[in-house]
Amino acid sequence: MKSNNGMIGKSIPRIGAIERLLGKPLFSADMELDHPLVLKVLPSDRHHARILDIDTAEAARVEGVVEIFTAEDIPRNHLTGIINKDRPLLAKNKVRSKGDAVALVAALNIHAAETAAKKIHVVYEDLPSVHDPEEALKNHASKVHEKGNLLFTRKIKKGNPEKAFEACAVVVEKTYRTSFLEHTYLEPDAGAGYLDPDGNLVIIASTQNPHYDHSELVSLLGVAPEKVRIVQAATGGGFGSKLDLNVQGFIGLALYHLKRPVMCTFTREETYRMTAKRHPLKMVFKTGADENGHLMAMTAKMICDTGAYGSYGLAVASRAPVHATGPYEIDHVDVECRCVYTNNPFAGAMRGFGVPQAAFAHESQMDLLAEALGMDPLEIRRVNALKAGHKTATGQLLNGSVGIDQCLEAVKPHYENALKTWLHGETDFAKQRGVGLGAMWYGIGNTGVQNPSTAHIEMDGEGRITLYTGCADIGQGSTTVLSQIAAAVLGISPDMLCMVVGDTAFTSNAGATSASRQTYISGNAVKNAAEKLADVLLTEGVDLLKRPKTDLMLENGFVVYKKDPDHRMPFSKIAARAAKRGIPLRWQGYFDPETVPLDPETGEGVPYATYAFACHVALVTVDVLTGEVTVHKIIAAHDVGRAIHPASVEGQIRGGAAMGVGFALMEEYDPSTTRSLKDYHIPTAMDMPEIIPIIIESSEPTGPFGAKGVGEPALIPTAPAVINGITNAVSARIYHLPANLERVLEASIQSGKFTMKEVA
């Protein structure tokens, strides 16, 4: 079958961009419902405490209050969580962190809801709390959950690293630490709900996974699946945090009991207090190489603080060790990562699932080895870069797209030029320049587990085609990309497709918008559905055009005879005929990447069907007397397999680099002091340098038109590149992110760059 894929690789206007530019009411908080009740959550103000009593009597008397809910009011299962169900919608018996929801007020207006929330009297009995994961693993530590504080351990073992270290010319062992981070998507969590005329619960929400939300609501409320409908509203960023059930459960609970429209809009402060954070990791890395820089062995002990609840902690604790080698072949590996409960805010998915943290460590190690061996940092990466035919630490044979070499090659001229000229151009007496590299690899899709996507495509009797996908577009542009894929297969322009997206009443499960999986996995599901429909059109065309199927193609809404394009038949005629003859015009597509579960003891297996690769170069200037860092330029080469929509790929790369600059230099969520956007700094336009994206297309045989993914990879190499650049500038290394003013100045002092004598 021949298909016209002229739409692939074109940066067509984004679906939904015009409505956003006009300020149309697309987001959850913009919904206009008929006199909706307002919901307000009362969060715990204790780190760890038994709940002895919740007295809502005074609160209930506040004028305008309609109802106050506690855990008692949850009809069925009160626990939520996508991987392990451990997080109560409303706290039952005890609270485990200061963000735990204790009660929910429904009121006529926000003032009444806020007033009432303050008048709910909760009697707590404080329990000892634990805030450090290593402390939490000690015998005497207070148990956050009954089953104990160790949630999960992932081990990756290959060869015999301890023996291999003995043969190494150089071995580097260092400890790295990262901090809690806040996703800080611009749209605070929000949702709205109402009953449809049939009495079904309709919940419109800002979400990364409407079909998961649906299953949670069914579980919480104990209602039939068809009684709940989740509609994804325009979603103002997610970056992993909108994978959890943030407002949807509250809306469902109120709707279930009150049967009238409700809205729940978090303030920024509530979003900061009650939603997931990025896991802080402590990582002890030991890496050894021979005299030529070949990596011989590495070991790593990692511990991640998942706070009070698991959320995506298991995924983080799996991904970080699986990726701990970096995009390099190493024969001897022993990595262990433990995921631990504490009474800190819960940590969940955040762009990269632990890989950004791991990349900070493995890329620092690469530079340290290069330094010890007197090698160029690019050269040591090139020498060790994974290639097709290599085996990863989990024993996976890489045989598809492996574009790390091309990424390193692509940045080389920029890197060398920066070293040769830019590095020596500083004239300010207090400033030092540095150039740093950061490379990464990233498995597309969930780790060693099934994570299918489905899609439907339908042609009506007049030839109009509708694509149904449960894939949540949270700003990355998946709706546009999926439309391009379907259109390319069907030989039409994407704007001829009607798109139905993220509505559980009409779409089927496409899995989460996470793990950089939607282009690859949902793209394949869409392609699969479109191909089935295309096959019907071509087969029908044989009858109508009296030509063999192999000589037919789809173009501009026609089945066309290749040798004489004027000999053609419009889809509308084929559709009408097919409909009459009872030939199906609605098809389901399905794709699940082939993986092999990881062995619990050795980690052996195939965690992902394919990997994305990247390398960034960062040009930085450090003020050695104040610790201020300026990032001047980032060159970002990314192997994405195939860029279906190049402008979106570039947008992801630039946006990822911005998040990476924040991770490197300024972002830190301190559970005891970070309350609002005043306390948490993300990069502004003035903090961002020019970013030069370089798209590498090492086509992936199993990808739709060769595509892999880029969403998370975009962020991962930036922080290591910036940190390596700072090290290059001040001749001292920072092992704890963020490299804020204090840490950079300290590094400068340690290396003697702070030229003045100490103050007595």
Partner: protein, 162 residues
């Protein structure tokens, strides 16, 4: 002098005369979103740290969340809804579309307002001026570059005209 828990407020919004009553505990943002149902102006933080609620007041960009509603009295206000007329895109909006300056879109209306404020003052802004003009508008998706490109291009297309 009288004091008011609510006070009549008359102002011009996107070219139309508006009369409402509001108190000092309300902000221009809640008036625009809740009373006047114009939802293009967003609340991202409520404390002037993100710029999602940026509107033009007498041609200057301000955070609607930091403006007490009674301070709107007599002012000429523009929100994103006033930029493109009758559903037609303003050149700035077209430039955002063309340069892929929109990802999730939540920061977009505020950015458009900051850009418009800049262009009213500086019809042909330099790259540096654009970056400074949007430095009070946080965006977590784009890394800003495609937005900056869009504004420069849009300014050229607008050519300084109103």
């Amino acid at each position: 002098m009288d004091t008011y828990s609510v006070i009549p407020i008359r102002f011009t919004l996107n070219g139309d005369k508006v009369s409402i009553e509001a108190g000092a505990h309300e902000t221009a943002l809640t008036v625009i979103r809740e009373r006047l149902s114009l939802k293009g102006t967003k609340e991202g933080c409520g404390m002037g740290e993100c710029g999602a609620c940026t509107i033009l007041v007498d041609g200057k960009s301000v955070n609607a969340c930091l403006m007490a509603a009674p301070q709107l009295e007599g002012r000429t206000v523009m929100t994103v809804e006033g930029l493109g007329r009758e559903g037609k895109l303003h050149p700035l909006q077209e430039a955002f579309l063309e340069h892929h300056g929109v990802q999730c879109g939540f920061c977009t209306p505020g950015l458009l307002m900051s850009a418009q404020s800049l262009i009213l003052e500086t019809p042909r802004p330099t790259h540096k001026q654009v970056v400074e003009a949007i430095s009070g508008n946080l965006c977590r998706c784009t890394g800003y570059q495609q937005i900056v490109d869009a504004i420069q291009y849009g300014a050229d297309k607008t050519g300084g005209e109103e």
